[in-house]
């Protein structure tokens, strides 16, 4: 049983995690045109890279990513490489997750960007633990998703719903127009964000640590482990 747990944990960390993060990086910039139903791939704007850096800093500060466990001089090179790839994937997944919930252009794009920057910047100086950070991020992305894919897309809707009429009445003289995307865009964004939050849960220290904390022991030469009673902790547990 224990062997399966170890193997599954390794599969989770070294294969499933980077796959999930890269899928977020792929889907975060994908839109579907409302008229032609064609794919539109939007690379992450510069502001999302900045947001991803701030978010990465939050991950480290809150302990969601323990850098000394991910990258360490006393770990095998392969482990360091796989962990580094996962961290790079996390950076781009974060950028694309923001890209997914940011309006593509115009005043709303800058307003959303500003609010994200403001939130992440003020959070840098708050006391966070991993669980609180994950909750906070889930709420942040959920709010942005609702604002963009339900409210703002309602404003952009070509048939013009009640929200569009209300906004045009209230905001006379202010141009609110943007690219029209098919409803599939919202579904893709939802899936990408759900996957991103799932990947963050996988990355959290609690899920990657073994259920039984490894305790390195010293075994006398020639004796079997069953007989050994001299147990001393030598190193911190690795993945």
């Amino acid at each position: 049983m224990k062997d399966y747990a170890d193997r599954n944990r390794q599969l989770l960390q070294f294969i499933l995690l980077p796959t999930a993060l890269l899928t977020v990086a792929l889907l975060g910039g994908l839109r579907v045109d409302a008229q032609t139903k064609q794919f539109i791939f939007l690379p992450p704007p510069l502001v999302t890279l900045l947001l991803a850096v701030l978010l990465g800093s939050l991950f480290v500060r809150s302990g969601a990513i323990e850098l000394h466990r991910w990258l360490a001089i006393d770990q095998p090179m392969l482990t360091n490489i796989t962990n580094l790839l996962s961290l790079v994937a996390l950076f781009f997944a974060s950028a694309q997750a923001f890209n997914s919930v940011l309006p593509e252009s115009g005043l709303l794009h800058w307003m959303f960007s500003f609010f994200f920057l403001w939130t992440l910047w003020t959070n840098q100086f708050s006391a966070f633990d991993t669980r609180r950070l994950l909750r906070s991020l889930t709420v942040l992305f959920a709010t942005a998703f609702v604002l963009k894919h339900l409210l703002v897309s309602g404003l952009y809707a070509p048939e013009g719903g009640w929200l569009s009429r209300l906004a045009s009445t209230l905001l006379q003289g202010i141009a609110i127009s943007g690219p029209g995307f098919a409803p599939a865009t919202g579904y893709i964004s939802f899936f990408a964000l759900a996957l991103y939050v799932g990947a963050l849960l996988i990355m959290s220290p609690a899920s990657l640590q073994p259920a039984l904390t490894p305790v390195p022991i010293l075994i006398a030469e020639g004796s079997s482990t069953e007989d050994n009673t001299d147990r001393r902790s030598l190193t911190s547990p690795q993945d």
Binding site: K2, D6, Q10, G29, T36, T79, L212, I219, A220, T225
Partner: protein, 203 residues
């Protein structure tokens, strides 16, 4: 003395350090340690390769910007070097071209070469733009400009940027000739006012 990392219940999880193990170590334990280490390394290597391939595929998708799943498949064929023009559609286009149904011919050729990677097909598309846009009194500049784009693609795709098509039904056989005709058609000059222009012939 050597170090073995083990669970608190005495079950072994990860093996440190690496072989060779000292004499007297239990053989079963040694085998278990080696197996666990090899399995971990294998999963890590597979993970690295898979991550690199997947990341490269994502970069490629964003670079090529396919507009549909069909285009993804076509781009994949091009990248793999197995892309081929649909000959049946190409022949249909040629038949329509010879009947002066240029727009329909272009549609067929667009279907035959969706990735726009075949020099000969792009040459014919440019030729169809030329013939449709040609007029005794004036040239259709919009069609001629599209023709220039198509012939430029043909020239870029041709080996050594030189393309010759041996088709007896055509009066221009090289991409360079078609390009010159199309470019001259898009330029405005005093010759456009020459009444003798009505006697010119379409190539």
């Amino acid at each position: 003395m050597f170090v073995v990392e083990t669970g608190v219940n005495g079950m072994h999880q990860t093996a440190f350090p690496y072989p060779p193990y000292p004499r007297g170590t239990d053989k079963t334990l040694q085998m278990f340690i080696i197996q666990a280490t090899m399995q971990r390394k294998l999963i890590q290597i597979v993970g690295i390769i898979w991550t690199a391939v997947y990341a490269a595929a994502i970069v490629w998708v964003y670079a090529t910007e396919p507009r549909s799943l069909k285009e993804v498949a076509t781009n994949t064929q091009v990248a793999a070097g197995v892309y081929e023009v649909n000959q049946e559609k190409f022949n249909n286009g040629l038949m329509l071209f010879r009947r002066d149904q240029f727009r329909a011919a272009r549609d067929e050729w667009a279907g035959a070469d969706p990735a726009q990677k075949d020099a000969r097909t792009q040459f014919y598309i440019a030729y169809a733009f030329y013939r449709e846009g040609w007029g005794r009194i004036y040239y259709d500049h919009t069609l001629f400009k599209q023709g220039v784009e198509a012939v430029n693609r043909a020239i870029m795709l041709a080996p050594n940027s030189s393309l010759t098509v041996d088709d007896p039904d055509l009066q221009m056989h090289t991409a360079a000739e078609v390009k010159v005709e199309l470019e001259q058609g898009t330029e405005k000059s005093w010759d456009d006012l020459n009444p003798l222009g009505v006697f010119r012939k379409r190539k």
